[in-house]
Structure formats: structure tokens, C-alpha cells
């Protein structure tokens, strides 16, 4: 076990810091959270800057246009960009963090050549069309139907909770190709262009009043067979590859952003005056800050373990489920601490611009954290995974 960075890793970090110091001041202010065209421009513009500087696809292999960095360098990249306040991956999330890596492992050379460079340059925004109204936790029961017709799949059905569905160019789409096979064996993974005739996207308003996810309706949408990733009816296995990335390292920037947020909150606590003393003088409040810091530090250490395992085996380890489960709980506790500080100010949204995922408005954040134990597999499902796959307890069914 060695937590120290090697000389190469330090050199990588220093070079990155220099670059960030140069470019971040040129960025201007982030757009309003409900101005979708501006958000797209902001997120993809940042992706393009990363590309031009050689930092796009940091962990993707170089033969696919990535930088081919080690998992540790990826971690340094996320740490430094978050620490220095660079834009978050935003709507490039699906493309960069799980669709891209899935294509690298599972797609044909033609598919890779078509999409990977475009993802890296910020020219393609992707979304994930997995969940359906009747297939959430029990995803394998999905029923969006794809019927083969010559060189096309004709797709009819509905997806839901599709984050950034209204701005995306492509979708990683799971469809049912064999309704008679056992449910895990009749699924296929398709690349679906979002501008095909027959697709209708309707934004859904979240509890925060924003609309970053959508319903997507498919009415006899013709998707070319050449857009299939993996074999027909082998889509569940491909989806598991996607999940391993989604749960493995996808939450690193979030955690780091949260740690920044905790430090900002501590400053707020020190400056809030109540009955002649600061909120920070309250033992309970101060200790809760200490405890949260302890838990975030430990999750950061756990992340380093998961990353080191990935460095040895090429795939993120099962620590990802533990991380996600634990993180959701701790982040909710932090939101509650924020609200003990805000008191009646908790009634109004702050006017601070900023991404609710990485900092910014504590009131918006209190709402956002509710999704952490739901999205990407609920906490109940993560506990099932840990209980069954890691601890070997008997399956429910």
C-alpha cells in the first residue's frame, strides 16, 4: 500500500494545474440551470477545451483517442479539476463515463470510429435509455419491443427518467428482442440516434422544479441493425459492463465537490451569529462537521482503494456499491446539517449560481440529495447486491 504519488504522477498533476490556472479564468460565468441550449454549449465547450489540451478521455486507451492515463492519473485529474473549480462533466456524463467505456469494450471498430472521437470532442451528447415505467429496479423486465425488419430494428415502447434526453444526440438503448426467452436473455443494447422519426421526448419536472430528465416515447422507430452493440439478445451482459463503470468511478467528482461544499459550509457556520455566539460554537454542530469530514475522508480513501484495484484488474471493484450506498446517506446528513444552520433561510432557494451536484445552493442541494439513493440503482438494490454478490447470502427468488 502506497498512497504517495510517483514522480510521473506528480509531473502529470503539476502540468494539469498549470493548464487549469491558465484556462479557468477565461471561462466566464456558468449558465442558468434552466437555460438548456446554454448549458449544452457550456458543457460541450469545456469538453472541447479538454480535447484540444489532450485531457479528453483521460482514462480511455490511446488507440481510441483517449489519453491512456492510468486510473491514478484519472483520479488526479478529477481531484485537481474539482479542487480548482473547473466545470463538472455535466451532460457529457453518460458519454464520457459509461457509454464511451462500454463502446470501447464491446462495440465494432466502425461503431467506435463513428462515435468515440465525437464524444471526446464534445460533438455528441449521450443519454441512457434503460429504465421504463414498469422496469426500474427490475430492469430486466423491460418491454420496449424491437422487431427485426430486414436491416432495421423497429422499436416501439417507452423509456423514462432519461437524464438529458431532451438535449442528447444519442441514446444507449435497451430493447426486448426476444419476448419468449427468459427475461435476461431477450435484451439487446442499441445505439439510438435521438433525431429518428417516431421518437418523442417530454421533459419531466423534478422535485427541484427543474427538468433534467425526460420520458422518451418510441413509435415504430427504425434503428439500423449495424447500431447493435454486442450480439442480439446479449444486451443484458453489455448493460452489466455499463453498470460497472456507472457505479465504479462515476461518483468521484461528486465526492470531491461535496468536500469543498463542507468547507464552505463551515465558513458559513463560523459567520452565523446566534445569541452572541457563532453557530460553530455549538458543540453538536461543530462535532457533526468533524464527523462528516471523517466520513468523506474515508470515502475518499475507499475510492483510492477501488481505483487501485481497477489499476490491477482493469475493472472497478465491487467497492463501488459500498461507496454509493454509504455516500447517499452521508450526503443526506450534510444537507440536514446545512438546514440547521440556515434556519428560516431554508425556506428560500439561494441565488448562488452553481451546480447543485458539486456545491452551490444548499437548499437545492437538500432536494438533489433525495435522488442519490434512487438513481443508478436504489440503496435497497445496492444492499441486495452487497448481500448476495459480495457476502454470498441466498437470493430472494
Amino acid at each position: 500500500m502506497d498512497i504517495r504519488f510517483t514522480a510521473d504522477e506528480v509531473a502529470f498533476r503539476d502540468q494539469l494545474r498549470d493548464w487549469l490556472t491558465d484556462v479557468l479564468p477565461t471561462l466566464g460565468d456558468p449558465p442558468d440551470s434552466d437555460d438548456w441550449p446554454a448549458r449544452r454549449e457550456w458543457d460541450t465547450g469545456w469538453q472541447r477545451m479538454l480535447y484540444d489540451a489532450g485531457y479528453a478521455g483521460i482514462n480511455w486507451p490511446s488507440e481510441f483517442g483517449g489519453r491512456g492515463s492510468t486510473p491514478t492519473e484519472h483520479l488526479i485529474f478529477l481531484e485537481e479539476t474539482t479542487r480548482m473549480g473547473a466545470p463538472y462533466v455535466g451532460m457529457n456524463f453518460v458519454g464520457q463515463l459509461h457509454a464511451g467505456p462500454t463502446l470501447i469494450l464491446e462495440a465494432t471498430p466502425e461503431q467506435q470510429a463513428r462515435h468515440l472521437p465525437a464524444m471526446l470532442k464534445g460533438e455528441e451528447v449521450w443519454c441512457q435509455g434503460f429504465s421504463e415505467p414498469n422496469a426500474g429496479s427490475d430492469l430486466a423486465s423491460l418491454s420496449t419491443r424491437a422487431i427485426r425488419d430486414g436491416n432495421h430494428y423497429v422499436v416501439t415502447g417507452q423509456k423514462i427518467w432519461t437524464s438529458f434526453g431532451h438535449v442528447a444526440d444519442y441514446c444507449e438503448l435497451l430493447v426486448r428482442t426476444d419476448p419468449d426467452a427468459p427475461k435476461h436473455r431477450g435484451i439487446t443494447w442499441l445505439i439510438c440516434p435521438m433525431d429518428l422519426p417516431g421518437i418523442e421526448v417530454r421533459p419531466i419536472t423534478t422535485v427541484a422544479g427543474s427538468s433534467e430528465f425526460c420520458e422518451v416515447f418510441f413509435d415504430e422507430v427504425r434503428i439500423p441493425v449495424e447500431n447493435r452493440v454486442g450480439d442480439e439478445n446479449d444486451g443484458w451482459r453489455v448493460a452489466m459492463v455499463t453498470f460497472s463503470f456507472e457505479r465504479g468511478t462515476a461518483f468521484i467528482s461528486e465526492l470531491l465537490g461535496t468536500m469543498n461544499q463542507l468547507a464552505d459550509m463551515a465558513d458559513v457556520a463560523r459567520n452565523i451569529c446566534r445569541n452572541g455566539s457563532s453557530a460553530w460554537d455549538d458543540d453538536e454542530i461543530r462535532r457533526e462537521f468533524g464527523r462528516l469530514q471523517v466520513e468523506y475522508d474515508a470515502l475518499w480513501a475507499l475510492t483510492k482503494r477501488v481505483v487501485s484495484q481497477a489499476q490491477r484488474t482493469g475493472m472497478p471493484g465491487p467497492g463501488g456499491s459500498v461507496f454509493k450506498l454509504y455516500y447517499a446517506d452521508v450526503k443526506k446528513r450534510m444537507a440536514e446539517l446545512a438546514h440547521r444552520l440556515l434556519e428560516r433561510e431554508a425556506l428560500v432557494f439561494g441565488d448562488e449560481a452553481g451546480d447543485e451536484q458539486t456545491g452551490g445552493d444548499m437548499v437545492a442541494s437538500r432536494l438533489y440529495v433525495l435522488s442519490l439513493s434512487i438513481a443508478a440503482g436504489t440503496s435497497e438494490i445496492q444492499r441486495n447486491i452487497i448481500g448476495e454478490r459480495i457476502l454470498g447470502l441466498p437470493k430472494e427468488r
Partner: protein, 340 residues
């Protein structure tokens, strides 16, 4: 960076685990409660294996490893419930010749001394340094310990003893080693609970198939893994900032200002802050993981869990015995809050 165990570290863990399984099976461990917690012959085997001389340099007859490894070894000892004054005996290895050595901070009033019938000497930490008190000098009244594997006695007046060194870093080290034992206890309790959940049948199926039980097991594992990550990180930070052995006090306010943990002791250079933050963090998470996993282990055993016969209580009680040492969890939380 490679924050995974090296091959040598894996082999070290395996070796200690084999030793524990071979020499400290649960019947033997329970039997040790009848002889003050330590059997000299078994203790000598631990010493020969190098458990106490892990950090002593090789040219001085030790094993020459670091704090990360000491953490791994103590984790395995905790997992196997090995009793005895393990922390004191490791810390004492470089400064005194005694074999079985207790270690406490000097209280303002009467002291509770662990393993009173078997220790050769007691090291006492106070603001002026570390002192050796010969066991023969201690006048001990019997007390009824909550943990059968951690017998204690009362000492009304703790003699001053003879000075053995400055107090530099001792409390952090003791806290770290206690945390390692507790991560092991959390693991042992979780393993016992999971195996019972697989065997025990009710309503025609293993209780581990019920989500209420399965999810409790998953939470036990999560706590343990998070605490383990914090512990290993703390071990690495200790190696990076202190190195093995006991260097002389570099002067000033560095590290502990005596034996009590000063909640505002977060001054000093960056490395010092890193170390305090890592060690106090591991302390809180390990103590809580051991406590919660011990309780959940009792719960998962149902009525059996409330019996003396089932080992669940041994994990829990040992966890309890290890927590009130070198600062309360609140004090550790305060130290870290001072750095947020």
C-alpha cells in the same frame, strides 16, 4: 499510488490469520479468560512471530516493517479476538525489556488497569513523557470487567515510575493500533453474523434470505469497508510522516501535548495535520463499526445472540473495552472539526 495490499502484505495477513486459527481458536481464546487473559507460552509465540517487534528495525532484531503492516497484523488479531495487552506490548518493544506490557494515560484520579494479573510492567503516558511502572509496585483491587477477555483492576494511586522517553506521538500510535483491532472485531462480528444468516432457517428458508437480515449484513459490511479504508490510509500516512520506531520529539507542539488529546491540536505543519486527521478519523469509524457490528451480530442471532455461549457478545464487549482509550470519540471529532 497503489493503495492495494502488496503481495508481501497479503502474505503477512495470511500468516497471522493462520497463526490465529492454529493457536488462538475460539475455545483457546475463551479459556484465556480464566488465566488473566494471557498464557505466557502463547504470548511467547506471538513475540517469536514478530507481532510485537514489527516496527523494530531489522538490525536491532526486529521485523523492520511499518505502521501499515502493524495495522494489518492488529486487524487480524482483533478478528480472532486474541486477548492481552497487545497495544502496550508493541509500543513497549523498543523501550523496555518486559514481555507483557500495559499502556495507559495517567488519569487524574484512580486508574483502571487492564490485564492486572499478567502484566510485567505498565507504561504510563502523561504530559511529561512515558514512564515505566513495575507491576510489583501496583496495588490492585479486583474489579468486575464488562469484557471477560479484558480483565481490569483498580489502582488508587499510580506510582510515578521511571522515565523511559518523551511523549512524542505515543497517543496517536496507540489510537491507531486500537482502531486496527476494532476493524478486525467488526470483520469477525460480520463474518459470524453472515454465516449464521446462511445456516439458520425460519419460515422454511435461511434468515439471510429475508431482506431485513440481508440488508443488516450489507450495512455491516459497508461500515467495515469504510472503516478499513480509513485505517489503511492512516497507516500509510503514519509511515509517510513518522516512519517506524520512536524518533525524538522534534520540539514544540508537534503531535500530542501530553497524554490527553487536545481537541484544538490541529496546528503545526501540513504533515502533522494530515496525520491527526487520518488517525482520529480511523479511530471514530473503527470504534463505531465494531460497536454497531457487534450489536447487529447479537440481533441476527436472535435469542442465541443474548447467550454467553454465542461469541457475538465477545466482539461487542472487546469493542467497548477498546473505545475509551486516548480520547473520547467526541474529542476526536473536535480535533477534526478544527481542520474543516
Amino acid at each position: 499510488m497503489d493503495f492495494e495490499l502488496t503481495e508481501d502484505q497479503v502474505a503477512l495477513c495470511d500468516g497471522i490469520r493462520d497463526l490465529c486459527q492454529g493457536r488462538f481458536d475460539i475455545d483457546t481464546v475463551r479459556g484465556l479468560a480464566d488465566c488473566g487473559g494471557v498464557d505466557r507460552r502463547l504470548w511467547a509465540e506471538l513475540a517469536e512471530t514478530g507481532v510485537f517487534s514489527l516496527l523494530v528495525p531489522e538490525d536491532e532484531g526486529g521485523v523492520g516493517l511499518g505502521w501499515a503492516e502493524a495495522g494489518l497484523v492488529f486487524e487480524q488479531l482483533g478478528r480472532a479476538l486474541v486477548p492481552g495487552p497487545l497495544v502496550g506490548s508493541l509500543l513497549a518493544a523498543e523501550v523496555v525489556d518486559d514481555a507483557v506490557v500495559g499502556f495507559i494515560e495517567r488519569p487524574t484520579g484512580p486508574a483502571l488497569v487492564e490485564y492486572p494479573d499478567v502484566i510485567d510492567a505498565l507504561l504510563v503516558l502523561d504530559g511529561d513523557g512515558v514512564w515505566r511502572v513495575d507491576a510489583a509496585e501496583l496495588s490492585i483491587d479486583a474489579a468486575h470487567s464488562v469484557d471477560p477477555l479484558t480483565p481490569v483492576g483498580r489502582v488508587d494511586v499510580l506510582p510515578q515510575g521511571e522515565a523511559v522517553g518523551g511523549c512524542y506521538g505515543w497517543a496517536n500510535r496507540a489510537v491507531f493500533l486500537c482502531s486496527a483491532l476494532q476493524v478486525g472485531l467488526a470483520t469477525g462480528a460480520r463474518e459470524l453474523a453472515v454465516s449464521y444468516a446462511q445456516e439458520r432457517q425460519q419460515f422454511g428458508k435461511p434468515i439471510g434470505q429475508f431482506q431485513a437480515v440481508k440488508h443488516m449484513c450489507a450495512d455491516m459490511y459497508s461500515r467495515e469497508e469504510v472503516a478499513r479504508a480509513a485505517l489503511y490510509y492512516a497507516g500509510c500516512v503514519m509511515d509517510a510522516t513518522m516512519g517506524p520506531g520512536l524518533p525524538a520529539n522534534p520540539g514544540g507542539d508537534l503531535y500530542f501535548h501530553g497524554c490527553t488529546i487536545d481537541p484544538h491540536d490541529a496546528r503545526g505543519d501540513h504533515e502533522h495535520r494530515e496525520l491527526v486527521r487520518a488517525v482520529s478519523g480511523a479511530r471514530i469509524l473503527a470504534a463505531e463499526a465494531a460497536d454497531h457490528n457487534g450489536k447487529d451480530c447479537v440481533q441476527i442471532h436472535g435469542g442465541m445472540g443474548f447467550t454467553w455461549e454465542i461469541d457475538a457478545h465477545l466482539y461487542l464487549k472487546r469493542a467497548w473495552a477498546l473505545t475509551p482509550c486516548f480520547g473520547s470519540l467526541d474529542e476526536h471529532a473536535e480535533r477534526i472539526a478544527a481542520m474543516v
